[in-house]
Each structure stands twice: as C-alpha cells, then as structure tokens.
Amino acid sequence: MTEFELPPIDYVAIAPILIIMGAAVLGVLVEAFVPRRLRHPVQLPLALLAVLAALTMVVVNADKRVITFGVIAIDGPTLFLQGAILVLSAVALLLVGERAIERGGAFVAQAAITADSPDDRRQAERAGGAGEVYPLVTFAVGGMLIFVSANDLLTMFIALEVFSLPLYLLCALARRRRLLSQEAAMKYFLLGAYASAFFLFGLALLYGFTAGMGDRQAGVDFSTIHAAVANSTQSRVLLFAGMALVAIGLLFKAAAAPFHVWTPDVYQGAPTPITGFMAACTKVAAFGALLRVFHVAFEGARWDFTPVLGAVAVLTMLVGAVLAVTQTDIKRLLAYSSIANAGYLLVGVLAPGPEGLSGTMFYLVAYGFTVLAAFAVVTLVRDADGEATHLSRWAGLGRRSPLYASLFTFILLAFAGIPLTSGFISKFAVFGPALSGGQVWLVIAGVLTSMVLAFPYLRVVVMMWLSEPGETTPTVTVPGGLTSAALAIGVIATLVLGVVPGPLLDLATGAADFVR
C-alpha cells in the first residue's frame, strides 16, 4: 500500500470557505441550543458577520494566485466571483432576515404540516418562522464559494451538491401558498438530481478520455483535461460526450434553455427572498463554473463547443424573451427575464479572451444587484393573503405608492438596458467582446431578443403608472429596515454601476486571468 501524503494546504487562501462553513455549522448549533425567541436575533448577525469576515479574507487574498489542496484554485476570477457571491448573499440575507413585513418573516415554522390544513392556516397566521433558513443559506453560500474555485470536476460536483441541497429545502419553506412552494421544491429537487447525474456521468467519460496520454496519469483536474484535449489518443467521442454532459449539469443551474423548465415554477413557488438569492447568487456560481470549465479545461476545444453553446445561447434568449411576453405573474415574468439574461451571459462566456471573461463577471454582479432589488419590491406589494404577484393587481400602483413604483420602474428600465443603468453597461460588456471575437450572429440575436423583452417590462410600467388603481390594487407595505436596506443597496448599485462603471470594470479586467 502506498503512503498517503497530505497535500500542502494554504489555509489563508481557503479562509473564506472555512469561515462560511464554520458559521453554518455554528448556526445549526444555535438552532439546537439557543432558546426559540433568541434564535433570530442571534442567527442573522452571525450569518452577516460570517459573510463580512469571509469578504475581508477575500480582500486580503486579493493578490493570491495559487492552487491549494490540489483542488481549489484561488485566482483572479475565483476571488472576484467569491466576492460577488458574498456581497450579493449579504443583501439576500437582509431580505431573508426581514421580520417586520409579516409576522415571522417569509418562512414557515414547520414545513412538514400538511398544506392547507387548519394547522397550516394557523401557523401561517401566527407561528414564527423557521430559524434553519440561516444555516441553510450559509451552507449554500459556502457551496457556491467552493463551486467557483473548484479546480477539478469532482470537487465541483461536491460543491454543486453542497449548495443545491440547501436550496431545495429553502424552496419548500414559503409561509404562504404552501402547495406551490412544495411543488416547486419537489420539481427543483428531481430535475436537479437528474442534472447532477448528467454531470457525474460526463465526469466519468472525461476521466476515461484523459487516460490516453501515455505516461501522464488520468484525472479530472482541469490542467489534465486541458492537456488531454491537446494530445489524448482516446476517441474524441469521449471528450465530446463528456463535455456535453458536464455542460448540461451546469447549464441546468444557470437556467439556460432547454434546461430551463424548472425556473418559472421554482421562482414562483419559492419564498421571494430565496428566489432573489437564487436569481443573484446561483447565477454567479453557475456561470463562474461555466467560465472556468470552458476557459480552463476545454479551451483547446473552443472550435468544437462554440457552435453548440452558441445555439443554446440563442435558444435561451429566445425562450426567455418570447415567453416573458405572455406572463401574468410578476415572479414568473422575472423568472423568464432571468432565463433571457442567462442567454446574454452565455454570449459573454463564448466571447474569447479576457474581455469576454471580465464582461461576463461584470454582468453577473450588475444583474445580481438589480434582480435582488426587484424581488425586494415584490415582497412589499401585498394584501391580506401575502404577496400579490398577479400583474393585474399591480395596476395603478404608481398612484398608491409612487416611491416604490418609481424604484421598480427604474429596475425594469435597467433590465431593458436603458443607458445610465447597469443593465446597459453590462449588455455592452458582453456584446462588445463577442463582436470583437467575430460572433456577430450572437450579438444580433441578443439585440433582437432585447427588443422583444422590452415589451413585457414596459407592460409592467404601463400597469403601474398609466392604469387607474382598482378595488383590488394592493397597498405597499412599509418595509422594515432590512428590506429597505436591501432595496436601497440594489437600486443604488444599479445606478452607480450604470453611471460610473469604471472601477468595477477595472477590477474585473484585473481579475480576468485563470491559473491552470
């Protein structure tokens, strides 16, 4: 038997991951030992502090470029994306922690009670919310941090599971519309399990592919795959099949068509703060992994995957834009909009070179802030039965509460890509490099779908401002401090990144270099 030697570990480099994971475990302990009424006041600061500490460590690591442990690559894109995930998850945590809008927050106390039973109705009215959401969110964040830094497919797979499982659970915890929430969680879990299986199978095929390199050992770390793409003697079918299967697993998380079908149902059913968290942070994680896999491992096969992924991108943009037009529920509309945005992000992933990389990373951050602000507004528009998400209910909202209607209008204009919002700058950031790289048809598809997509956004604006308020127009709840803060951060970031994008673009450009 060979001696097992522990690889060297750079603890400082992986400190953000360790801090977040430690905090999550601590959160579980808090849930077990702290009295019920103290849990919320303890959990939220704990989670936020952990995120802050992890963010500090990311900043400390800013100039680090190492592969530690053999499996974790700490480089520019990792640090940038980790920072993005942490900042966005902090904003999402503010939404999760809101207790002022509804007694006990957006989460149910006991998810296992039969939906719509008298017990369920009673707990929807009175019971406090589950405190488990904080460790669950923290675990998910930890998984995402590993996901974007994983340097081999196996680690990536484990990270995928680590951040997916808490999300499946979180989706099922909505206080209102329990059946919808449970259905969403079930769908997400089943389809997510399939996607994971695809990923795993692809991983196995790629392992087989790397075996054909003479004296070099087979493996699934990215440098080995990269070398194998260049000079493996195995059949290319293994490579293409493996690449396709791994891509399916990732594209599922990224909500790209035709692997998007779960998105509208899950976005609609999940508690709105969690929807915001998924739309912002899961997107960053999924695209971070896509960027790493395609820029580092499969770089040599660019000519082979570009047409296929390009077709996926066009399809995603089309599906998202066209189906968004027909939606009547604000959360589903935002879900289709997020699908279309996944298409634009894929355009950025396919743009060769560091410009495409930095543009995509900028897009992820900008979109994350805007979408979080959008869902923050959704949590506020409510009536006696919880959130009023049907679009017809938003008619005349501009009269009832001009401030929130103005903010939401601004957010929608950002989604539509009107200049002076981050939406415009980020579209430019991905289309520019794509055009430089000669992918004219992707840019044209992007521009055409943007036109289609403008229509549903505009319809909401018309609803809010130009329609008269009706009997059923809900009032906007005055938000607590946490939601206000999240909304303010999201809107201000959307404005600032639209007016002075220079610093973040600089940061993204400086970070756009993978280690291999």
């Binding site: 579209k427 289309f431 521009v447 943007s450 403008a454 994008p501 220079g502």
Partner: protein, 510 residues
C-alpha cells in the same frame, strides 16, 4: 470666454432645475411653474451667450470639452458643437421656455402632480441638449435612449385620448431603433479601434460590407426617430395623444435628432455607404412627402393632422440631406430649424384651440374666427408658415432644398415640388374648416371659445412669429453658421457641388 465649458453646463443646467422643481411640494404648483420657467430662461440666456461667442470663421467643432468616463472602453464625456448642432441647441433653448409658458395649465387637467410635469419637461430639455452637444458616440447613444423616458411619461401620464397606447408605441418604436443602433455602435467601436471619439472614428477605414451594415444600423434608428416613411406610424399617435407642449417639443425638436444623426453620424462616418444607400433614402423621402401629405388632407383630428404635415416636411429634409449638395444640405438644416419654429407654433396654437373647445376634431370647429379672431389669425399665420409661404422662414429652406436638389437630380426635385401643392391643400382646407366659414352654433355654447388670446398666450406666440418673419427675410445669420458645417459634411461624403451653369439656375427659379 470661449474657454467656458458651455456645452456641459448647458446640458447639466436643466437637470439641476428638474431636481429642484421635482422636490417642490405638490401643493404649490404655481411656484413649480415659475421656477421651471425661470430656469429655462436661464438656459436660454446661456445659449444666447454661446451663440454670440461662436466664431463663424472658426474651427468646424467649437466649445470642445472632454472628460474621461469609462476609461476601459475609451468612453469620454466629449462635448463639441458644429454649426448644425449650435442651431439646434438654440432652437431647444428658445422653444422650451415657450412650451413651459404655453403648458401653464395643461398638467392641471390630468389629476397628476404638476411639479412632476415641469420637472419632466426640464429633464427632456437636458437630454435633448445633450444629444446635440455630444461628440462621443457612446455619449450620444446614452442621451438618445434616455430621451425616451421623460417623453414616455409626458405622453403616458399627461396625454389625452389613447395616451397609453401612444406612449407604449412611441417607446417601443424608438427602443427598437435604438437597439439596432446599439449593435451598430458596438460594431463601430470594435472596427474603429475601441474608441468612441467622433473625430477619431471619422478617420477610420472600414471595409465596404461592414460599413453598409453599420450605416443601416444607424440609419434605421434615425429613420424611425425622424420619422421617415415607412417607420412613421408612431408619430401621429404620439403627436395626437401628447399634451400640446410636449407634442411641440416632440415634433419640433425630438424628431430632428433623426435628421441630425444622419448628418452627423451616417454621412461622415460611412461616406461610401451613404452614397450607396442615397437613392433608397431619397425614394423613402419622396414617398413620405406625398403619402403623408395625402393623409394629412384626410385627417379630422387637428393634432394628428399637424403630425402628418411634419412627416411630409421630414421628407423634404431627407431629400435635402441625400441630394449631397451644399445648397440642399444648408436648406435641410435650415428646414430643421424653421420647421421647429413653424410646427412648434402650429402645435402650440392648436393646443390653445383644443384647450378652449375641449376637442381636437376639425368637425367640432367651424367659423371659430368669429369668436376668437386673434387666435384664428395666429393659427392662419402658423398654417401659412408651415406651407412655406414666401416671406416666412420655411420658404427659404424649402426653396434651398429644391434648387439644391434640382442641380443634381431633376426628377426628385420635380416630384418633391408636388408636395408644396398638397401642403397648400391641407393647410388651407384645415384653416377653412376650423376658423373660417359659417359659425358652428355649438361653439357659442362653450365658455372657453369666448376668450381670445390672453397675455400669457400672446407672449408665447409673439417670439415665434417674430423669428419666423425675421428668418424669412434675413436668414443670413443662421446660414452663415450652418454653411461651413454642411460644406465640411459634404466633403466628408466626398461630393462636391456641380458648377452652376446659367441654364439650370434660370430653370430652377422660374
């Protein structure tokens, strides 16, 4: 004095004013109106100083300023004005205070916040000034798109019948055009060496195929904005639904962004493509002149009628631009100014009529001149100016366009001349049916129709009438400013004027 950052201050000033007005309490509408008017007069004063400082024989681009914005992409806040832009900036600065004064009571009927209406007008002024003052393609695009937002809310929130439909149609048409342009802007940036500076881009050599696509991207956006046939259908709806003041700005200034864009971007940046597409553009312009004029004759809604006359006039401007002679080009630019004055006046007067009668339908009027003689007189004058009667400013520009075109392309000039006849038809018939003839008995029942122009309204129309007459007899101060810029543009395209021969000149003036 010429070191003063005129253009950036001019652009930013209305925005500051808008913030101030928006922050005023809703309960004090009069104060908001006064502040807005004062602010716009301040902008006017600044632009007059700028006009005086302008050196007629100086550099093509003056008042140039540049500040870095997004260094990664080579985006700068670069402002610079040529003669064409200067004239348009003056037009905006003159029109906005008059529009504010004319819309004094417009916002009150809508149940919406009055300060917001005037704040939106000032935001609109800021974006309009910015779009003409920008000399950086990215900056131009930003203003071009942002301009939609205040106009959308002006139409949608404060408009009349079918305002929602009109506002959405306006927004979507413009946005579609804008997105085509965005693709072209990105393409230009990539092919032009990652810079957005107009001067640098105008010296870049682009392959013929790419140049034609880029031209098309820009041209579609501008043709929708102008609007040229067949992209025009949004204008009658928007013009018909918008409150009169906003409609005057929409048709008087906003649409000029299209023709200005063609002159500033399409022609100099893509000269070869411009020549290649010129026959098509001329054809569209001609169809627009005849088709829109015919539709105008058949309209029963005054505001829609005036909108259609504008589409016909934009046909003339298009002909003037794509004839590629200095005369026609100068005529086109002069037409942009004069059309802004004449149609702006016409829209404002129509607004006054509509406000009194409570209806924009021609058939609801009839013999109104007997009740409100002064208003009817001004209406008649505005109509005559818009059909380009000699002695009014539009005549000079229309004439320049036609003779400039005749020297190079006789058939086009001849067909365009038909538009003048149709113009006489729609204007005179409109005047006849509304203010002349037997008095419509229903009008005497309406209190509003018993009030002729009050002092405020006289102050609104007087400067416009004075300018139209003045420029009709003595356009030289303006043509002196326009001419060098147009000449430079034609040189960019690579066309020189044909040497005048005695025959053609005589023929044209006959």
């Amino acid at each position: 004095m010429s070191d003063f950052p005129f253009l950036s201050v001019l652009t930013a000033a209305p925005l500051v004013g808008a913030v101030v007005v928006a922050l005023l309490p809703r309960s004090r509408p009069t104060l908001a109106k006064q502040v807005a008017l004062g602010w716009s007069l301040l902008v006017l004063a600044l632009s007059v100083v700028m006009w005086v400082t302008w050196q007629v024989d100086g550099h093509r681009f003056q008042f140039r300023e540049s500040y870095p914005w997004i260094p990664n992409w080579g985006v700068n806040f670069t402002f610079a004005a040529d003669g064409i832009a200067l004239v348009m900036l003056m037009l905006i600065a003159v029109l906005v205070p008059l529009v504010i004064l004319a819309s004094w009571h417009d916002a009150e009927s809508s149940k919406r916040s009055v300060p917001t209406y005037f704040a939106l007008l000032l935001v609109l002024e800021c974006t309009m000034l910015g779009v003409f003052a920008a000399a950086d393609v990215f900056l131009f695009y930003v203003f071009f798109e942002v301009m939609l937002v205040p106009m959308y809310f002006l139409i949608g929130s404060y408009g009349g019948h079918q305002r929602q439909y009109a506002a959405v149609k306006f927004f979507l048409y413009s946005l579609v055009g804008g997105l085509f342009m965005l693709a072209a802007v990105i393409g230009l940036w990539v092919l032009g060496g990652k810079t957005f500076d107009w001067v640098a881009l105008s010296q870049v050599d682009i392959s013929t195929g790419a140049e034609r696509w880029l031209f098309l991207g820009f041209f579609v956006a501008f043709a929708i904005k102008a609007p040229f046939f067949p992209f025009h259908t949004w204008l009658p709806d928007a013009g018909g639904a918008a409150p009169a003041g906003a409609a005057a700005l929409l048709v008087g200034v906003l649409d000029k962004v299209g023709t200005f864009g063609i002159l500033r971007y399409c022609l100099p940046l893509f000269p070869e493509a411009a020549q290649w597409f010129a026959p098509w553009a001329l054809a569209l312009a001609l169809v627009g002149i005849i088709y829109a004029a015919l539709l105008a004759v058949g309209q029963n809604d005054l505001k829609r009628l005036v909108s259609y006359t504008s589409i016909a006039h934009f046909g003339f401007i298009g002909v003037g631009i794509f004839a590629f002679t200095t005369q026609a080009g100068t005529g086109a630019v002069l037409y942009m100014l004069n059309h802004g004055l004449a149609t702006g006046l016409l829209f404002l007067v129509v607004g006054m009529l509509v406000a009194r009668r409570g209806s924009a339908l021609v058939s609801d009027f009839g013999g109104a001149g007997k009740l409100v003689p002064v208003l009817a007189g001004v209406f008649f004058f505005a109509g005559l100016a818009s059909l380009a009667l000699p002695g009014t400013a539009p005549f000079v520009s229309e004439f320049l366009v036609l003779i400039g075109t005749f020297t190079v392309n006789k058939p086009v000039a001849v067909i365009a001349t038909l538009g003048i006849i149709l113009a006489a038809a729609y204007v005179l018939w409109m005047v006849q049916r509304t203010t002349q003839g037997t008095l419509n008995p229903a009008l005497t029942e309406i209190d509003g129709m018993k009030r002729d122009l009050n002092l405020r309204e006289k102050v609104v129309v007087a400067p416009l009438i004075a300018l139209i007459v003045l420029l009709g007899f003595y356009p030289k101060p303006v043509t002196d400013v326009i001419n060098p810029a147009v000449q430079a543009t034609m040189e960019d395209v690579g066309r020189t004027d044909p040497a005048p021969s005695v025959d053609t000149v005589q023929e044209a003036s006959r």
